[in-house]
């Protein structure tokens, strides 16, 4: 067994409690901001709000920003003409365990300029709240619901923040957190009972319950009936 694996297992066994050894950041060495035009522009405009910049996996540029300035910085990345990040590919989160802060990850892409950027926000376990970016990208809606469901991070001002994967009545917590037991918190009997107690008519709409219903095509025509460009 390698030392790295031993450390990882020890970290898992340590659970969610904070410790000085575990408080070490997951960040890598700082990279040259001039390698990526957006990072240089961010440094120039926001200065110390760009907490850290690193390059992972060869050419993946990662920028760390503070949680309270998410809307401001991501909004600028979307609106500034030379940045033009018009596509939010993914919103997800990472829990490294050992009491370390959870990281919320925004994966941005500019369709017109063909460049990408990863933005990370670190949230301490005691304050898992962050502003929703659904106002900037509508695609954040379900992605933020997924992060809320599986990590328990609350997105302020989200239009519809409820579970998306686990049942609405799920009471065991948020499964992708490192402090979540692999088999869940309840016994198999209780889990089976609760699963069977779900009222299908209440939790699914008639359209979802109808098998082989008429497919609905959306978004191909505008209000006037003209095809969208």
């Amino acid at each position: 067994m390698s030392d790295k694996l031993k450390d990882a297992l020890a970290g898992l066994a340590a659970g969610p409690e904070s410790s000085d050894a575990a408080a070490a950041s997951e960040r890598g060495p700082a990279a040259d901001p001039n390698l990526h035009p957006s990072v240089a522009a961010l440094r120039e405009r926001f200065g110390s709000a760009i907490l850290h910049h690193e390059v992972v996996a060869g050419d993946e540029h990662v920028v760390y920003i503070p949680a309270d300035r998410v809307i401001e910085i991501l909004g600028w990345l979307k609106a500034a003409p030379e940045q033009d990040y018009d596509f939010l590919k993914d919103v997800t989160a990472v829990d490294y365990g050992g009491g370390r802060p959870l990281q919320v990850v925004y994966q941005l892409w500019s369709i017109r300029r063909r460049h990408g950027l990863r933005v990370k926000v670190e949230l301490p376990l005691q304050a898992l709240e962050i502003d929703s970016v659904t106002g900037l990208w509508a695609s954040a809606n379900w992605l933020e619901r997924e992060v809320y469901d599986l990590f328990g991070i609350v997105f302020r001002n989200h239009p519809d923040l409820r579970r998306i994967m686990m049942p609405d009545t799920y009471a065991e917590g948020h499964p992708l957190r490192k402090d979540f037991p692999l088999r869940g918190r309840f016994s198999r009997l209780e889990q089976t009972r609760r699963a069977l107690a779900v009222n299908l008519e209440r939790d699914y709409t008639p359209e979802e319950l109808q098998v082989g219903g008429t497919p609905v095509q959306i978004g191909t025509t505008g209000a006037s009936g003209e095809p969208r460009p």
Binding site: M166, P167, E172, P175, F180, P181, L182, R183, G184, S187, R188, L189, Q191, T192, R193, R194, A195, L196, A197, V198, L200, V211
Partner: protein, 225 residues
């Protein structure tokens, strides 16, 4: 099996086939045999395919393996016209009430095959979101092991079910029952409780469920002639 009652003179029907040599042209049998013969030769499967096992199930129903040989050419995608539920693949707890609802929608008589390791015991997915064996949700007649089972495996399981159906009797009311509503686990509480231990599904469930009796297993080749 001929009718030999009334050992004297057999009634002679003018024009009937037995008129010439006196042998009877009909035979008697048990109603069970006729009913079971009809049932096991025309099982209409309801495919509940959720994972890779479903690919093997499709292969089994395609031309190379040809389930139509057993009267199963009609995959019934409506539970209302199905006799046999084939649960092929892993079932999450979120799907558990859906599986039970589909089972409830099937008319009697009905049977269930649990295809593959995940459906039978949770397989490698001993995690928070997975049903540890669908026999906690619905009653299962045949478990087909494998990950996934080859089409031959599924066909073997179907032939086992044929043997099981041949041994049924229409006078046995305990074979045909509906599960209670509102839904509760299909197994007794203590048996579901016993699979809470790590990999309890694989190591002890089949033993504790009481659903598997080794002596009851019969190879299609051992069929009585």
């Amino acid at each position: 099996m001929g009718l030999s009652a009334g050992a004297g003179k057999l009634p002679v029907v003018p024009g009937a086939a037995h008129e010439k040599d006196g042998s009877p042209s009909f035979l008697t049998t048990r109603l069970d045999v006729v009913v079971n013969w009809a049932r096991h030769n025309s099982l209409w499967p309801m495919p509940f395919g959720t994972a890779c096992c479903a690919i093997e199930m499709m292969a089994a129903s395609a031309s190379n393996y040809d389930l139509a040989r057993f009267g199963m050419e009609r995959m019934s995608f409506s539970p209302r016209q199905a006799d046999l539920l084939i649960c092929a693949g892993r079932v999450t707890y979120k799907m558990a009430p859906v599986l039970r609802r589909i089972w409830d929608q099937m008319p009697q008589p009905k049977w269930a095959i649990s295809m593959g390791a995940c459906a039978s015991s949770g397989g490698v997915f001993d995690v928070y979101s997975m049903v540890q064996g669908i026999d906690t949700i619905i009653p299962v007649d045949v478990y087909v092991p494998g990950c996934p089972p080859r089409p031959e495996g599924l066909i073997y399981g179907i032939l086992m079910l044929h043997e099981k159906i041949k041994g049924e009797s229409i006078t046995r009311s305990d074979l045909r029952y509906e599960l209670p509503d509102p839904y509760v686990p299909a197994l007794p509480d203590e048996k579901v409780e016993q699979i809470t231990v790590p990999f309890g599904n694989s190591t002890s469930q089949n033993k504790v469920s009481g659903l598997v009796q080794v002596t009851a297993l019969k190879r299609p080749g051992d069929r009585r002639s």
